[in-house]
């Protein structure tokens, strides 16, 4: 929660600055931010490769653990396919790309902004922050009504860090490893799935 507030305040600071102040061109230069994105992607890759917790979780559980991230991916896609009909002014592809952030708002919004459009990038940022907040607030109720996997799937990629404590509380300690594994797998997949959807 604290992390997302900091990130949102950086975004808002930029927003206010851009709106009220005349800025030098290099700050608005698109090339600068695409290189920054490539740099970020490389760093995120390093973080994922160096993180051996996923292997350990896989050893202590069985192959069934893959069903959990799969559930999130398919469930998100189905849910958005249904609700997309009610949202004016957004295409099927765009709504799916936003959903494929699975709560990983920083990376998904940046990728969408750089490779597709700025306004969809804003939608992705807001939508994925909301996913994290809904999970933080709703995890206990979600676990009661929809079972112990549900808060994990609701949290998406955030189930490995920001929403892990509340998920562990709601679903029990025995699901902490599942939650961690689920979050790591989705974190790896977000850049791939988002850019795949946008390239269709």
């Amino acid at each position: 929660m604290k992390g997302s507030l900091i990130i949102l305040s950086f975004f808002s600071a930029g927003l206010i600055l851009g709106y009220y102040v005349d800025l030098p061109d290099f700050l608005i230069n698109d090339k600068f931010s695409s290189y920054a994105l490539y740099f970020l992607m490389f760093l995120v890759g390093i973080g994922v490769g160096a993180d051996t917790r996923a292997f350990k979780a896989l050893k202590s559980y069985n192959i069934k653990i893959f069903l959990v991230p799969l559930t999130t991916i398919i469930g998100t896609a189905i849910g958005i396919s249904l609700i997309f009909l009610l949202i004016p002014g957004i295409s099927f592809k765009e709504s799916q790309a936003v959903g494929a952030g699975y709560g990983y708002y920083s990376l998904s919004s940046i990728i969408i902004t750089e490779t597709y459009s700025k306004s969809l990038g804003v939608v992705a940022l807001l939508s994925n922050v909301m996913r994290e907040i809904i999970t933080l607030l709703g995890a206990p109720l979600i676990a009661i009504y929809f079972g112990k996997i549900a808060p994990i799937c609701s949290g998406g990629a955030t189930s490995m860090d920001t929403t892990l404590p509340i998920i562990t509380k709601a679903s029990g300690k025995e699901f902490a490893i599942v939650s961690l594994f689920h979050g790591i797998v989705l974190t790896i997949l977000v850049p791939f799935i988002v850019s795949l959807i946008l390239s269709l």
Partner: protein, 93 residues
Amino acid sequence: MIIVVAIMTAGIIFGYLIRNKNRLIKLNDKLIMWAIYLLLFVLGIAIGTNETIMKSLPTLGLKALAITLGGVFGSILLAWFTYKVFFKNKEQQ
């Protein structure tokens, strides 16, 4: 798209090779954080200077909310199914 995937894959391989170098990994985490701050700050500027987007911010927020609700409900309902079919019984055994 290929560039993004290639760069990230290279990062994963490099990260795996240095997985035991704790100081480098901690430094990497910090760099990621600041890279994200910087990029979102720049994204904020790009949006702030774009009047069309600024005017449509409330609409964009509503779209975001609708997509989020769709995604979260879809995940939760399917998770309920996955839990019942694949996980619950095993717990009782």
